[in-house]
């Protein structure tokens, strides 16, 4: 029975009628009646997403709206889930992650008035989708500086998930940061081609350490746990991603490249509730205090544990962070290999 049955097909259509233009005029609506949905990758322990989860939870507590989070198990369910979110009459649909970009654009152009769409982490041209992106290169630059200042050798390692332009801003920012203090630096990059293969990341880290890298930048999501374990064994310094990854058990994780997505979610929801959300694309960086480095732009949950991260170094990097915020240091990511 795939032929159109009028009785059935009226259901979603009528739902569209009951909320005419609701999304564009949320101001009149009680926040408690609002439905907000976050559609993202599988959350797991991915801090980029767990922070968003926290942010959304905070907003729910604050305003009492109904919120839901949908994790997409595979590439094909993104569009289904976004469409279902429209069907299920959500007012604000937040899509986080590259795989959601095309689907949300498609759905937004089909149902421009049924919901407000926000796309986090990817740029988009779609007029109906607000895009939020980050200048991760600024954080990476600060991490690079720290690395350059604490590392005794001229060799710097990094373990990333994927090779290619998509992750170049992390690598470029890191290299620029290192080079700003250590012009003769040499770099070693390895790629796990997986966000979860901690074993592989660890082996790469051990190899890089053996090759003389005194600092290894970990940027392969869950697999970073492998790099951290290697740091503990081999005594090189390393940094985490997104949220405070320092731990009293591992003093070699000296800092973290901050990407505070909780703040972003809270900002979006607040603006939405207050009717102030515009469709202008926004980019967050050090200036907005979303991107940064732990102990430089943000305090850690643990005090600085490593003696190598001296006050002097912190002060120096803080100075650079100020310059970035003020626009004195401009970091525009070029195409890789150019």
């Amino acid at each position: 029975g795939c032929a159109a049955k009028p009785a059935e097909s009226t259901a979603p259509e009528s739902s569209a009628e009951t909320t005419p233009d609701a999304s564009k005029a949320p101001a009149g609506k009680d926040p408690k009646d609002m439905k907000i949905i976050l559609i993202c990758d599988k959350i797991g322990t991915n801090p980029f997403l767990t922070q968003m989860q926290t942010g959304l939870q905070n907003m729910k507590t604050k305003y009492g709206m109904s919120t839901s989070i949908v994790e997409c198990a595979d590439a094909s369910v993104w569009e289904d889930n976004i469409r279902a979110a429209v069907q299920e009459q959500n007012d604000l649909i937040i899509v986080a992650g590259g795989q959601g970009a095309d689907p949300v654009n498609a759905v937004a152009s089909e149902f421009p008035d049924d919901a407000t769409y926000v796309l986090v982490d990817v740029e988009t041209d779609s007029p109906n989708v607000k895009s939020i992106t980050f200048k991760e290169q600024e954080g990476a630059y600060l991490i690079g500086m720290i690395a350059g200042l604490v590392n005794k050798t001229d060799k710097f390692g990094a373990i990333h998930a994927n090779e290619g332009q998509s992750s170049y801003k992390w690598r470029w920012g890191y290299m620029e940061g290192v080079k700003s203090v250590r012009p003769n630096a040499e770099f070693m990059f390895n790629y796990t081609n997986s966000y979860t293969d901690a074993a592989k990341a660890k082996e790469f880290a051990l190899q890089q350490a053996a090759a003389g890298c005194g600092f290894i930048n970990a940027a392969s999501a869950v697999a970073d746990f492998g790099t951290f374990e290697a740091a503990l064994e081999k005594g090189f310094y390393t940094s985490g991603q997104d949220e405070d990854r320092t731990s009293p058990d591992n003093k070699y994780i000296i800092t973290t490249q901050i990407k505070d997505t909780a703040v972003v979610i809270e900002k979006i929801v607040t603006e939405f509730v207050e009717g102030k959300l515009t469709m202008e694309p926004e980019t967050y960086g050090v200036k907005e205090n979303v991107i940064g480095a732990l102990y430089i732009t943000k305090d850690g949950k643990n005090p600085i544990q490593s003696e190598v991260l001296t006050d002097e170094i912190v002060a120096k990097v803080k100075e650079a962070a100020d310059k970035i915020a003020k626009g004195e240091i401009v970091l525009e990511v070029p195409m890789e290999g150019k």
Binding site: G44, E163, A198, A199
Partner: protein, 304 residues
């Protein structure tokens, strides 16, 4: 260009560690093909072992119990595989694929049920396998690094291969086991229960896969990530196939693949992109199979 021997030794050391889990599974695959059972559920058996090791480790804090538990759970899954394939004569492909899917689902599901997390589980309470420092060898410059920080399970993989070789070719029981693979009907006609031998072999492959699984979660690293086996069970099948299902052949083919992967990794950062270097071990497998074709022709098995 000056060659950094220490670095090379570390790479070899990494390769050994990355390969031993595959070697366990490949030995499991080999013993199954010795009794003419095609076991595709290695992946699922391994995943179960890896998961159970973490669970038991978390609750008991005992490495020994973790290893035992992992081996046992691998055997349990293998028992299901064996019974379905041997007793019920179910299609090996269906059983294997379903068990793999089942264990992937079940471990992910249980990870959430038991620990309330998704994706990854790590905890300071987890105790990894103790690393073994070999008394004299550890002080030899190159060799020492090559064999640094291996766990007893890493060494045991090689020992297991040798034991398996002795078992198959020197003991009476191994002799009878091989006979099942050659002519099951003849074994039955002598009143020896060939079904039981086959199931036992599959269960033993479960034990091996369980040990391989332990290495993935308590050996190289001490944490559990979802689908931590990431296709190693399938890769083991290819390795066993190339090694002619001979324990020593399997050791050689497993390390051959290990080095293919190591070379792939070494090529990262050169003009060849990592997406391509990742394909290298698989391409090498095919090429190796082609080159050993004559030998395999006879063994080539057309599945029903």
């Amino acid at each position: 260009m000056n060659i950094d021997f220490e670095y090379i030794a570390v790479v070899i050391n990494s390769t050994i560690r990355m390969m031993t889990p595959v070697l366990y599974a490949a030995l499991g695959s080999a013993i199954c093909s010795k009794v003419w059972v095609f076991n595709i559920a290695l992946e699922g058996q391994m995943l179960t072992g890896a998961f159970m090791a973490i669970v038991i480790n978390y609750y008991t804090g005992s490495v020994l119990l973790s290893v035992l538990g992992a081996a046992l759970s691998g055997m349990l899954v293998a028992l299901i595989v064996g019974i379905l394939q041997v007793k019920f004569r179910a299609s090996d492909m269906v059983v294997g694929t379903s068990i793999n899917l089942l264990m992937l689902g079940a471990t992910t599901f249980l990870l959430y049920v038991i620990f309330g997390v998704k994706g990854v589980f790590t905890d300071p309470r987890l105790k990894g396998l103790p690393k073994i420092e070999l008394p004299i060898i550890k002080d030899i410059p190159f060799i020492g690094t090559m064999f640094a920080r291996l766990t007893f399970l890493d060494y045991f993989a090689i020992i297991m291969a040798v034991l398996l070789y002795i078992y198959l070719f020197k003991t009476v029981s191994g002799f009878r086991l091989q006979a099942v693979g050659i002519n099951k009907q003849a074994v039955n006609s002598l009143g020896i229960n060939a079904d039981r031998t086959q199931i036992c072999a599959v269960v033993f492959s479960g034990l091996l896969c369980g040990l391989g699984g332990v290495l993935l979660t308590l050996g190289q690293v001490t944490l559990y990530t979802e689908n931590v086996t990431a296709g190693r069970g399938f890769f083991a099948m290819a390795a066993a196939n190339l090694g002619g299902s001979h324990p020593i052949g399997v050791v050689i083919s497993s390390f051959f693949f290990g080095f293919a992967e190591a070379i792939g990794n070494a090529l990262q950062g050169t003009a060849i992109k990592s997406q391509l270097t990742m394909a290298l071990p698989y391409i090498v497998t095919i090429i190796a199979l082609v080159f050993s074709s004559n030998k395999f022709r006879k063994r080539a098995r057309v599945l029903k």
